[in-house]
Assembly symmetry: C2
Amino acid sequence: MKDLRAHIANLPESVKVRALQECRLFEGLTSTELNDLAVRAVSIRYTKGDFIFTEGDPAEFFFLAQEGLITLHKGLASGKNVIFIIASIGDTLNAAALSMNKHFLSAQAITDAVVLRIPRNEFWELVGRRPQIALSIIGLTATALNSEYNRIMDILGEDVELRVVHSLFTLATKFGPNLMLKREELANYAGTTTESAIRVLSKLKKREIISSAGRGAIFISDLARLQNYRR
Amino acid sequence: MKDLRAHIANLPESVKVRALQECRLFEGLTSTELNDLAVRAVSIRYTKGDFIFTEGDPAEFFFLAQEGLITLHKGLASGKNVIFIIASIGDTLNAAALSMNKHFLSAQAITDAVVLRIPRNEFWELVGRRPQIALSIIGLTATALNSEYNRIMDILGEDVELRVVHSLFTLATKFGPNLMLKREELANYAGTTTESAIRVLSKLKKREIISSAGRGAIFISDLARLQNYRR
DNA sequence: CGCCTGATTGATAAGTATCAAGGTCGGTGG
DNA sequence: CCACCGACCTTGATACTTATCAATCAGGCG
């Protein structure tokens, strides 16, 4: 049984500031403000597999990814789960949910990861002082909403093959052609089963659009053909 | 061919104020402010079937439903479409999309309808003066986002039968047990075909959970059994 | 070396869209 | 006033997609 307790990292402020700067929400802040925020922020280190928070938990902190990959997902009664977002440095884990009292999604580290966290009320105080941040949250949440509309269109309108291809393309746009994901994670992101995702990958490999880069990795060798993919 | 041109209604301010009051965004406003807003707002009358705006159009106005039912949907390549929201009095048609430049969804009147519209920049000026409105937009958008997460879980995790049942329950919670919707509209809301939706309805009628209330209507006679429905 | 996790392929079954064929109702025009 | 027409509703048969179940393989790590 793995030790699930996370560790407070106590990183120097400069490292935290760098993560805050990566986040769209804090774009307009002066370096003094960023420093203030960094002082209030605590970095926490998680081990691959650890949960940072769970769907339905009270949302007491604002969370920001600082290092590593973190999935934001929801569990299905059948035991499988659906990955909505894969967060990396500068991505907020729960900016939208913070306005409600509970987390919408679960956050789980899929690599070793470091997360910045700021108490909920301190975050809202800052938003009160800097209304621009509220507008950025609106933008962020609206963008997320639009992505989910599009995902639904994809799920209802396209077959599994196209969905996996679209997922690969989206992920490659964010993370580059070298995806450090297991087949299962890709499947959960695309909303299908591991087996079905693998069948699509096999087909893509035969067409030399991807080449598997070993366990837990997928290398996309021809992004252009992936984008214009037709069965 | 139907006349698609909508008509400016020029309703008295008091009628417009009533619609504004129904909207969660304007809860904290004084009656003076509401009146100011009502003066700037134009009511427009649409005939059943008319489009108020279309997916991808530039979002130049803030829209609020004042009378009638309006679907917010997106078209699928196959010609079918997916209904995300059915808006009625007090519902915003595009609060989230207003922060982007384009409409995410199409808005179509499915009954004769009246809509309030406020120029985009005047709306944002108001938000600037009253930061509480920005927070309400965050709340509204976050709630919408959470709904779509749940819808995706439903689509991926439940069969069509449960999805139609859930849709009926959600709609009945908002509109009451007497739903003035065509089978096709219900199907588009549930993300299935008209035929499949009808098969579910037939089953529900056999179990006396619903009774069809004539063409273009569904009457839910046993909401409790609908909520706890198992196949 | 053997075990555990992840990847892969094949066979099968279930669920649902699709296609096809009426059926029903309300409105409209002769 | 009646008959027809069009929109909507309903049911049945079929085919296709994809989940599920089962078996095997590959590689890293203790």
